[in-house]
Chain length 440, copies 2
């Protein structure tokens, strides 16, 4: 949501090592964006920014750093500075920081807090992980039922502290509204998708955001509970699609059976027809199977390993695309990562497969006299099939998205089908090369 | 969140057909709960409740009914009553209702609205589905930057309308707080999980909820943006697990390759070792394959069909369990549904498989002289394997949850592995029974 100017300014000031200028600039932009700017900087630069800002501000920035960054800073910055940040953090942010530490270290940190705060903080850590108790803040203002609205406002003005929701109430009645408008740049565009809107609500911790058109004309407001609802629907659709269903759009127990049959039957038939190619591929190698039946034994093992590695890769990429962690033009970076990962995973399974056949054969000659060549065939095929599964599994979501389709569409079974057919070709080709002259 | 007393009262009053009493009671409980109560009632009873409540209240109840219920009411209740409900609905709720109607009918409904409201409403429907523009409400109060806080409050009091967030501001300063506390029963318990909390935030459309302990002592507050964030993490973990990964807990592009290798390699090896049983099963039928190589041709087709139907069933159940749509003790209802669905889907694929082999064989005798028996074997095996895939895929999440494990854990590939091994046994057993005396 920041303008390009701000980005350019930060880069220039940092290059000039003008930390005074940086600190001035950082006071005017949201803490989460400051955290984003300084995250990749050298440790000393990060410390300098954090230590020189007012503690209220640096506590917010510290809270929005990823856990690894927090840990590094905590261990390297001045003790006194760190203690004041720890004290100034919001309760829920502090819980999130402390719960990732080894319990001994967390206790050492808790001991640094003033008594009342320490007690509350350690009580929060006592609740089960991912429970409401672990996530909440005990930092609320209680008002009494018998008070009037006026009395309640007066109480809030006196005892309330800075918070997104209370901002307006905490200022004297004569304050001009424009003085209160911090970070007013955060708006949704009318065409923003639900995941995009969801990211902004989370990043800036808002509960309501204005919606504007291309001319930045205010059209309406969007509240976060609607986003929560839509997000759940979208995730349901994604999970159901990954499993090879058409989205049910109704609860499992109440959808009529005929409709469920149609929602599942459609994709099942498409995948079945695709999978028929395996029979065609197998028939192509029928003569080889007849000559060396031992080859047939490993067909399910090999194609399923390709399918499994394909499912892994495709679900990782689908989710990363949905969260906006990767974009269409990242495909080449993904290919390189999957090349390395696919080769190593294939090597691992290949080695296990090779050793398994070797071990059995040393005990009992169940795979015939040419077992070393069979073991080699299976091992090499696994490397190829797992590599191919990882590559095609990671690329399919890109292709679907490029074609303006939902990347989640039936991807896992779809990849499995693709890899089944090509896996057979890889397997029998390797077999032909390795076993020519012995078994074949 | 309603007490058992309220439930009992509603049932009693409805049984006595005391609609006056019901309407009195319904004014004191949240609209979403009223919608829940009346949803299963006969149409005439629903109409009576909706028509006799003040229109502001009935518009809210109408908004919280599922689409099918809204449609039914719209077509059956008094025209005038329906028009006033349509006018009284919030913009975003009306968009949700209208977007599900055929466009002709939606236009007819729009024409019923007063001009200004009609224009705004049809503009909302003009935005892309699932975009911020489609979800927002244009019903906001604009305040000017140069106003003081006091002036802004005065403006809001004069022009603001009822809304969750503005409640307190809209009342004269002398109003007692207790008069404003509607639906105060809605609280989170300190042990509530994120999905449970998420459901309550959505259902009651709140942005902040109090968190209490077992004695209903107020411990803190939880804001919905934290829930949004946790929900996203939980959904990421679920999707990654379904694909057979250990949750990465880091963005795809930034996780070190060695850690990614470990997160994927662990499950891949476990599944590979499980899948080795297919080689054992195949070896058990080695003699049959040697005698009838044609049997080997259909192995990938049959086991993958089982895997696909298993993935479908398991992802549907995982999601329904996560959303709380089904619970552990619903397992028997699920078994009955999957029996019917699995048999029908199996029958469908079996028929296609049978016809495919028949069709090919009539053109060219590629499956040998006994092709009718081969076709029968494949067809029957598909029925069995798809049925078995659906049943085991739907039951595995229950078993994992019962064992206090995450139902999403590697479920799709896990089911596939299970079904691969058992699918082979089904296939070769059917083959043995059908082909005994001909091919075998």
């Amino acid at each position: 949501m920041l303008t390009k100017d701000v980005h350019r300014n930060v880069v220039t000031l940092h290059k000039k090592r003008d930390f005074k200028g940086l600190n001035q600039l950082f006071r005017t932009i949201p803490a989460v964006d400051v955290a984003g700017f300084i995250r990749p900087w050298p440790l000393q630069d990060r410390i300098q920014v954090i230590e020189e800002l007012p503690v209220a501000e640096s506590a917010k920035i510290f809270s929005r750093l990823p856990y690894s960054g927090q840990h590094e800073l905590a261990g390297s910055m001045g003790h006194e500075n760190f203690v004041s940040i720890l004290i100034a953090m919001a309760y829920d942010e502090r819980t999130r920081f402390l719960q990732n530490l080894p319990s001994e270290e967390a206790n050492r940190m808790l001991a640094l807090l003033p008594k009342e705060r320490r007690d509350k903080a350690s009580r929060l850590l006592g609740h089960r992980k991912d429970s409401a108790g672990r996530l909440m803040t005990p930092d609320f203002i209680a008002i009494q039922a018998q008070w009037t609205v006026q009395e309640a406002f007066a109480h809030i003005r006196t005892y309330g502290r800075d918070s997104e929701t209370l901002n307006v109430l905490l200022h004297p009645s004569e304050t001009k509204i424009e003085e209160l408008r911090k970070h007013r740049n955060i708006v949704l565009h009318v065409d923003d998708t639900v995941p995009k809107a969801s990211t902004l609500f989370q990043k800036y911790q808002r509960t309501v955001l204005p919606v504007v058109d291309a001319d930045r004309l205010l059209l309406g407001i969007l509240t976060v509970d609607d986003i929560l609802h839509m997000n759940e629907k979208i995730n349901t659709r994604a999970i159901q699609s990954i499993g090879g269903n058409e989205a049910l759009d109704e609860p499992y127990l109440s959808i009529p059976l005929l409709r469920m049959f149609r929602k599942r039957g459609g994709w099942l038939v498409i995948l079945f027809i695709g999978e028929m190619l395996t029979a065609t591929a197998m028939r192509f190698f029928e003569a080889e199977i007849a000559r060396a039946v031992v080859l047939a034994l490993f067909v399910p093992l090999i194609i399923s390993s390709g399918g499994n590695s394909g499912s892994q890769a495709s679900t990782l990429i689908i989710r990363a695309l949905a969260l906006g962690e990767i974009h269409l033009n990242d495909w080449w970076r993904v290919v390189r990562r999957e090349l390395v990962t696919g080769l190593s995973l294939g090597g691992l399974l290949g080695a296990i497969g090779f050793l398994r056949i070797t071990a059995w054969s040393l005990v009992k000659p169940i795979y015939g006299p040419h077992w070393p060549w069979v073991a080699l065939t299976v091992g090499l095929s696994l490397v190829g099939v797992v590599l191919w599964g990882s590559l095609s599994g990671s690329m399919l979501p890109f292709i679907l998205k490029r074609a303006k389709l939902d990347p989640a569409t039936s991807s896992a079974p779809f990849v499995a089908t693709l890899v089944d057919v090509t896996g057979l070709i890889i397997y029998f080709s390797v077999a032909y090369a390795v076993l020519k002259g012995t078994l074949l």
